[in-house]
Amino acid sequence: MNENALCKKTLQSLKELGSETGPSFFSELLGVFQQTAVEHLAVLRLAIAGGETERLSREAHALKGASLTIGATGMAEICKQLENLAHAQSLEGAPEALACLDREFARAQSEIEQESMIA
């Protein structure tokens, strides 16, 4: 993958939003995103292991929303795949999609760290 895990344009607009609302907004937002993503990933893992499609759908939907807002489009796309699997009542390919999501989150995290250093 050669694209960034986080959309630069989205990050820039969030940074601008933060510059007008409060100096800590942007770093706080990135922090909350990381914490939220870790929590959602843990529940997604449990839902897939337990074959709970409704829970999988709910968590994937929530993480998709958070990812899109922060500009993590790759993560959002995988969440959408998981959501579709859950709607189809099928978990075939779900563990592989989750592994992709973990890798994509790791990429996003390293980009967040770079952002934090710049900020």
Binding site: G18, T21, V32, G65, A66, L68, I70
Partner: protein, 186 residues
Amino acid sequence: MKILVAEDENISRMVLEASLKKRGHEVVGLENGLKAWEAFQREYFPMIISDWLMPEMDGPALFRKVRSVPRENYSYLVLLTSLEGKTNYLEAMNAGADDFITKPFDADELTARVQVAERILGLHRHVNQLEGLLPICCSCKKIRDGQDNWQRVENYIEIHSEARFTHGYCPQCCEKWMNSNSDPEK
């Protein structure tokens, strides 16, 4: 304007709150429909922006509750959604939604929709004023204005609103006039 935001997803709520505050609005952000409903019962919010899927109480359920309360002032209800499809759109409209914002929202679109809300709320206030109690003569139907002058209904409405009248006869008066061969007003 005071805006109530109901969104269970932290990131979306934080960004939405910051975007609205940046535009000078006062925002109360809560994480589910039930908390939003409790807040609404305590005080009036001219605008509510709510997510669709939430634990405890979802967006349409919140809107149905809000619409069930007879209040003098109108609340403009906007549903946040990433769901598509006509059925969902209709369900939300039936629950009382005035407008929709698709997630992740675009800052310009948000500004535009809040402006529309402000315009509609302004019109509602104006209508409320017009619908307030007016002293009217039982016989000639003239209305007493604030200066104690009795005015014809059409004059009063033309002064207090943008409405203008075109004069004509309704079918019943027209028929009466044809039969009596005289002006129905006389």
